[in-house]
Symmetry: C2
């Protein structure tokens, strides 16, 4: 049975939305109408042609291609930093950071924020995490803004101890002590204990 115009157009919109790669001809077969009818429908619904749709998808891809590499250098936005002393970053928990089942943030994102802040606070060419002792104190949910504060506790020639505490509002959600290796430019791999 053929659907009414309204039904068909609603259905068409849905179909194209979830599969932009479908041609007018395929749609015509699916809905048992002529290609021209499909074209008229697209007109009325202001849906662009196949090639435009594909192009649009590809362009979006290009856009977040550039987004997804350099930004990851530091997880969260550093809002204050005093090299070799302290640093603060904020990280907004979005839906891609949480378990779909319960909306609780995955631990590695909190770790990543803290760890990259510990790396950033060190005033050297390169810093690598050697050890870390961490504690997830309280669950973090989608929509929360996590503020991480890093403090340099002790600094030896090679090893630096950084303490990071993250909180949402007044509540501490994460604590960690990071033992960092400083690597002043040269590419030596000092035996044992090294890392990221």
């Amino acid at each position: 049975m053929r659907k009414s115009k309204k039904e068909r157009q609603a259905c068409l919109q849905e179909t194209i939305k979830e599969n932009p790669f479908v041609t007018d001809e395929e749609l015509a077969n699916e809905f048992n109408v002529s290609v021209q009818t499909i074209r008229l429908d697209r007109m009325e619904l202001a849906i662009p042609e196949l090639r435009e749709r594909i192009k649009y998808v590809a362009e979006k891809k290009m856009q977040d291609e550039v987004k997804s590499l350099p930004i990851e250098e530091v997880i969260g936005d550093i809002i204050d930093i005093e090299l070799d002393k302290s640093a603060i970053s904020i990280f907004d928990v979005k839906k891609e950071h949480v378990f779909t089942r319960n909306g609780i943030a995955r631990g590695h994102h909190l770790f990543a924020q803290a760890n990259s802040l510990a790396v950033a606070v060190i005033n050297d060419e390169m810093a690598l995490t050697g050890k870390a002792d961490i504690r997830f104190v309280h669950p973090v949910k989608e929509g929360d803004r996590v503020v991480a504060k890093a403090k340099v506790i002790r600094s030896e020639k090679l090893r630096t101890i950084v303490e990071v505490a993250s909180s949402v509002g007044n509540e501490v959600v994460f604590q960690g002590e990071f033992s960092m290796f400083r690597a002043p430019s040269s590419e030596k791999e000092e035996k044992n204990e090294t890392g990221n």
Copy 2:
């Protein structure tokens, strides 16, 4: 001045790679040759036509659209799992995982692999990391394949201790002990110590 065929083809390949949206005509103008020459070049270099290129980009986008939410549930591919006992996952280190300056993987990726494996090995609705004690033993480089092995050490009512050891080849690169909370479905937030 017009480039030699070899030069032009190398250049063309580069140009298309970083801007797949360029037409043969535009390329012909850029290199001061005819459209046909560009077509022959594409033939020889086995570069598909504009529309195919765009389609390919768009399809990739669609692919990692689905990849970037549910698949991130576990970082790395689980290749073996025995619930509440042990699990193994592999993680290939790509350029987006390393510091651009020295090609060494950022610690939080190794942590993420280990942590999500620790979550996965637990046979319960939900598991959250409470504490973790981790050690980056050796730096991991771009191209390395990291194999993480998780073993459940001890299991109480609420708390489970999971040990994870990651290695590249025969060399251990990361060790961690994760103290996990099991959360059997209900949304209780048992005071103190919880996390991801």
